[in-house]
């Protein structure tokens, strides 16, 4: 693009926001204890950041740490208390 004439006539998006690593915002990291997890998928249901993944029904949920902002809704809503929020700096 050299001049304004080369710009598209209207704005349109070229990609999704998936390349934005919002996981860097996190202070507390959710860790799922598969011994306590009953696979009710309540955490998946309430995640505002689409960061709890259930690839196939029946599987244990997994956390996408590249995008999880660490809000803690999953740990708060989990009916069996299987999710613990751990401070990031205590891990590494």
């Amino acid at each position: 693009m050299e001049t304004y004439r080369d710009l598209p006539q209207s704005t349109y998006s070229l990609q999704t926001t998936e390349s934005v690593r919002t996981g860097t915002w996190r202070t507390f990291r959710p860790i799922i204890d598969t011994k306590k997890c009953t696979r009710c998928y309540t955490c998946w249901k309430f995640c505002p950041d689409v960061s709890i993944e259930v690839r196939e029904e029946g599987e244990y949920p997994r956390v996408d740490y590249d995008h999880c902002k660490g809000c803690g809704i999953c740990a708060n809503e989990c009916p069996t208390g299987a999710i613990e929020m751990v401070r990031e700096d205590s891990i590494c």
Partner: protein
Amino acid sequence: MPRLTLPKDELVSKGHSGCAGCGATLLARLCLKALGPKTIINSPACCWSVVQGVWPRAALKVPVIDHAFECTGAVSSGIRAALDAKGIDDVIVVGWAGDGGTVDIGLQALSGAVDRRTDFIYIMYDNEAYMNTGIQCSGCTPLYAWTNTTPGGKNQEWKQVAKKPIMEMLISNGIAYGATVSIAYPEDLVTKVKKAKTIRGTKFIHALSSCPPGWKIPSSKSVEVARLATQTGIFPLYEYENGAYVLNKDVKTKPVEEYLMSQGRFKHLTPAMIAEVQRRVDEDYAALKAKCKGAGASG
């Protein structure tokens, strides 16, 4: 075998710019699960115009039109007219606006769209103030709430009046379907949005979506506080269709104090103020139940 209780497809991308624990983002995710990919969303200046991300990226996997604050109703009518002219009838038009863009600034355009009986779904995500610009009081801010423009102080200048009864206003305006939904009850939410898709005419959905920075709650309590709003009767879940009201979740079991005291924006409330809120909630809830009588409440 363990099952998912909601549709699996995600139409909100990861990496969006919503705050941690944002109720409005969770709401969009749940609503789009019900709406499906054949949807065109238009939204005014609101939190969601930021949550969508910065160009050239976009957080929603459906077409979005951004427009000025007061235009949601008008733009929705325009998109529907364009689709009609092209003979496309399987695409759903959704007006997606915050509470300020609905009950204050966008009210005239919305009323016009209802008047034209435009076939679209209007979803108001109600976070009870102008949160995007820094928590200013809106017509949907509840009684006695703190905001930056109702800061209290010596003269006790908290919000002095109750929320605008937007659902009642639009029902008298002539909507075909109206429903209140909450992020704390996702199955109920998906059922109602799916139902709205099948009805012709203007559909209005009032959705409570908690806002951790604006309500002064920890981000992890976002869903819990929204659930308390329904359990205390402050935000009852009901539907309106063809002149009849149906109460979907008759779960009013807790005192309003529990909801109010869970949030920093109500921490200044005196016992007299809490009693006043309780009195009004009891009155409104009884009035709603009277309207639902005979319609067969369930839940």
